[in-house]
């Protein structure tokens, strides 16, 4: 069986996988990192979003072996070692941006990437467009958009130039 070596949340990891093993299967079943969810399995919902080398991707649509040699970050890897939440997690809590929480890991991972990709600022429209790959069946998105706008200044250490509602 092919071997895959990758870094997950800063730790190196080597595993035997089948060619067809999906990255999300390696994370959840192989490594017990069940924070990454599988909502649809058809590339639509974004519950499975993780970062590969800093870019948000759907881990249900990537073979584990394609991530060979890459650095993967999951929802378990973003808080600080002492448990201090990542600013995006803290703002999701603060703004009540989750109800059942099923979509939340993927939302948070997509949102972090979105804020990082836009150091120049983010409008409400851009946040909504940027979340198109993530479906939420509970919140109606409004508080998620608020949480992301609130996390932007903390992550960039300055005021958000174009304030989102």
């Amino acid at each position: 069986m092919p071997q895959v070596s990758l870094t997950v949340n800063g730790r190196s990891h080597t595993a035997e996988v089948e060619g067809r093993t999906l990255l999300v299967e390696l994370l959840r079943e192989g490594m017990g990192l069940t924070g990454t969810h599988v909502g649809c399995d058809t590339s639509q919902c974004g519950a499975c979003v993780v970062h590969i080398d800093g870019e948000s991707v759907k881990s249900c649509s990537i073979l584990a072996i394609q991530a060979n040699g890459c650095a993967v970050t999951t929802i378990e890897g973003i808080a600080e070692a002492d448990g201090t939440l990542h600013p995006m997690q803290a703002m999701f809590r603060e703004h009540h941006a989750l109800q059942c929480g099923f979509c939340t890991p993927g939302m948070v991972m997509s949102a972090i990437d979105l804020v990082q990709m836009h150091p120049e600022g983010l409008t409400e429209d851009e946040i909504r467009h940027g979340l198109e790959g993530n479906l939420c069946r509970c919140t109606g998105y409004h508080n998620i958009v608020k949480a992301i706008a609130a996390a932007w200044p903390i992550m960039h250490g300055k005021e958000l130039p174009l304030a989102a509602e």
Binding site: P2, E18, G19, R20, L22, D41, T42, S43, Q44, G46, V49, E55, S56, V57, K58, S61, I62, L63, I65, Q66, S110, D113, L114, M117, G130, E132, G133, N134
Partner: protein
């Protein structure tokens, strides 16, 4: 998903050889179409040949052309300063494909090889009359698209790059299927010294096609008014639960006028 063997060759000849040696072997680019297909067991390849290490990622521009490597992602295309400046319609098109996560993985080569009738890039490639370079030849856009999910590619032939001539004006407007985000109707308009070309995706039963009546009118007068009276026959257009052929015919006119107005 059925299992398969996986290889990741590091040269184009090695990849072509791996695909040629086994008719059931398939190429893997961004996997954003192919992996969902495999999960549904709609395809059963014996081997997967990953194209990620062939050096096909990148964008090169001179004053006449922009050449895009087959493995260049939609995200790289939407954020390329050269493409935004020289072919803004193409950058905008890339920025509206799927979602951020799909755009981080999905590639131009994969989209063109697949030739989904509702995919976006075929409209840009046909309207700009781009050239598709493969491992052993070059194919003009006019000859490349041969009906839905069908192209001029031979089995095992690899797209290596797509070469776009620069145009004076480019613009793309798409009426998105709100669930899948694919084009229900997409219209790309390109104005060059040689005239105007208009390509329509998402609508035709045979995939992307040129709208010659609009091309003639726009070559004479490049304005939305010039095509206001031009209707599109609904024969040969797709009808499904999302839109009837008549509705798609109507949308072609609306998207074309918006594209010209925004160009």
């Amino acid at each position: 998903m059925y299992d398969f063997t996986y290889t990741k060759p590091s040269s184009i000849p090695a990849a072509v050889q791996a695909l040629g040696a086994d008719i059931e072997a398939k190429a893997l680019a961004g996997g954003q179409t192919f992996i969902p297909v495999l999960k549904q067991r709609l395809n059963k390849p014996s081997a997967i040949v990953d194209l990620a290490d062939l050096g096909l990622r990148g964008i090169a521009a001179d004053d006449k052309t922009i050449t895009i490597g087959a493995m260049t992602t939609h995200h790289q295309i939407e954020t390329s300063e050269d493409i935004k400046r020289m072919l803004p319609g193409l950058a905008k098109m890339a920025s509206w494909i799927g979602d951020t996560q799909v755009r981080h993985r999905g590639t131009m080569g994969g989209s063109l090889a697949n030739n989904d009738p509702s995919a976006c890039y075929p409209a840009a490639v046909l309207a700009l009359n781009a050239t598709i370079h493969t491992d052993h030849r070059s194919i003009a856009a006019d000859d490349f698209f041969q009906g839905m999910f069908t192209t001029a590619l031979e089995p095992g032939e690899l797209i290596t790059a797509i070469e776009f001539p620069i145009a004076e004006k480019t613009s793309y407007e798409k009426f998105r299927n709100p669930a899948s985000r694919y084009a229900m109707v997409g219209v790309f308009v390109a104005k060059t010294a040689a005239g105007v070309r208009v390509a329509v995706t998402g609508a035709g039963q045979g995939g992307v096609f040129r709208h010659t009546a609009m091309e003639q009118a726009l070559s004479a007068n490049f304005s939305a008014d010039a095509i206001t009276g031009i209707t599109t026959p609904s024969d040969g257009l797709n009808g499904d639960i999302h839109a009837s052929p008549e509705y798609r015919a109507h949308l072609i006119g609306v998207m074309a006028r918006r594209a010209v107005a925004a160009a």
